[in-house]
């Protein structure tokens, strides 16, 4: 069934729907009790969203591996630094 769904949807449409769903989850979690686990979870969700945009919207999955790696490294670097800052607080 899942394969069937992906078959019907174009990859970019699937990415868009996933992004909407992930955003909704993040929004729900915004009202949860603060906690480190939650923080890491939301951060990972966010980076996942970012990678989806980079790959499927910007279309970097077709571009050279160097550029894709550059964008990936950017997301990971920013995400890690933010994560460290939140964990030490």
């Amino acid at each position: 069934m899942k394969n069937g769904l992906l078959h019907i949807l174009k990859p970019c449409t699937a990415a868009w729907l996933s992004l909407l769903a992930l955003a909704a989850i993040s929004f729900q979690l915004a009202y949860d009790k603060p906690g480190r686990l939650l923080m890491v979870f939301v951060l990972v969700l966010t980076l996942l969203k970012g990678q989806l945009v980079v790959d499927y919207f910007m279309g970097l999955r077709h571009a050279g591996p160097v550029w894709r790696a550059t964008m990936g490294a950017y997301l990971i670097a920013v995400g890690t630094l933010i994560g460290i800052a939140y964990l030490i607080s």
């Binding site: 174009k10 970019c12 449409t13 868009w16 992004l19 909407l20 955003a23 909704a24 993040s26 929004f27 979690l29 915004a30 009202y31 603060p34 923080m39 939301v42 951060l43 969700l45 966010t46 969203k49 970012g50 945009v53 980079v54 499927y56 919207f57 910007m58 279309g59 970097l60 077709h62 571009a63 050279g64 591996p65 160097v66 550029w67 550059t70 950017y74 670097a77 920013v78 630094l81 933010i82 800052a85 939140y86 030490i88 607080s89």
Partner: protein, 211 residues
């Protein structure tokens, strides 16, 4: 070798120059759109990245202030704006697909749709700014609001800038200036718009959600 140059031009070195095109090929497939916009995109992402990290580390020194101030923001607006931008980004992807299939009117229509969503984003953000100012939130109110207003205003300006670019692309698309083989302009505008979207995803999580 071409005939002798004028004496005062010195002698020529027959050296093949490494052209920009060959530079591109040596690094795999080129980036979508004009390379110049990518220099810009990487510069902008760096600025936003540094701002985000600065926000995070400043927060770690003022956790209570940040958490308390964060609660005063309207998260529903933030979420609605996320949906608007994600969807408009999706529309732009569809516009690019349309022009790759040679359907330039459809391309224009998708971009017009994206522009409409972008306009709604700006409107909603203006309402939010208005409510913030009415509550006495300014750049100098406290550290959190300083970051919140700087980041969102800076991003707001990027949305406005992206809309100007997309508007130009839409006009040219309707006028039939792009074809299935020649659509670098659409790709360039699209790449910028997705960057604006990407920044908002990070910004929304950081400023409105994570606490």
């Amino acid at each position: 070798m071409a005939g002798p140059g004028p004496a005062h031009y010195g002698h020529f070195i027959m050296q093949t120059a490494l052209t920009d095109d060959r530079l591109q090929q040596s690094r795999g497939q080129p980036l979508p759109g004009d390379f110049a916009i990518w220099v810009f995109i990487f510069a902008e992402l760096t600025v936003f990245g540094v701002l985000f990290v600065a926000y995070a580390f400043t927060r770690s020194a003022h956790v209570d202030l940040f958490n308390a101030s964060q609660l005063t923001l309207n998260r529903t607006y933030g979420f609605a704006n996320t949906l608007l931008l994600l969807t408009s980004s999706y529309f732009v992807v569809r516009a690019l697909r349309a022009i790759k299939a040679g359907r330039h009117t459809a391309c224009g229509n998708w971009i017009a749709g994206a522009l409409g969503l972008g306009a709604m984003f700006l409107l909603l953000k203006l309402v939010e700014f208005h409510q913030d100012f009415a509550r006495g939130i300014t750049l100098s109110a406290n550290l959190f609001y300083m970051f919140y207003l700087s980041l969102t205003f800076f991003h707001f300006m990027h949305v406005a800038m992206g809309m100007v670019i997309l508007a130009v692309v839409a006009v040219k698309a309707y006028a039939g200036r792009y074809t299935a083989d020649n659509h670098t302009g659409v790709e360039t505008g699209a790449s910028y718009w997705h960057m604006v979207d990407l920044v908002w995803i990070l910004l929304f999580a950081l400023v409105y959600v994570i606490h």
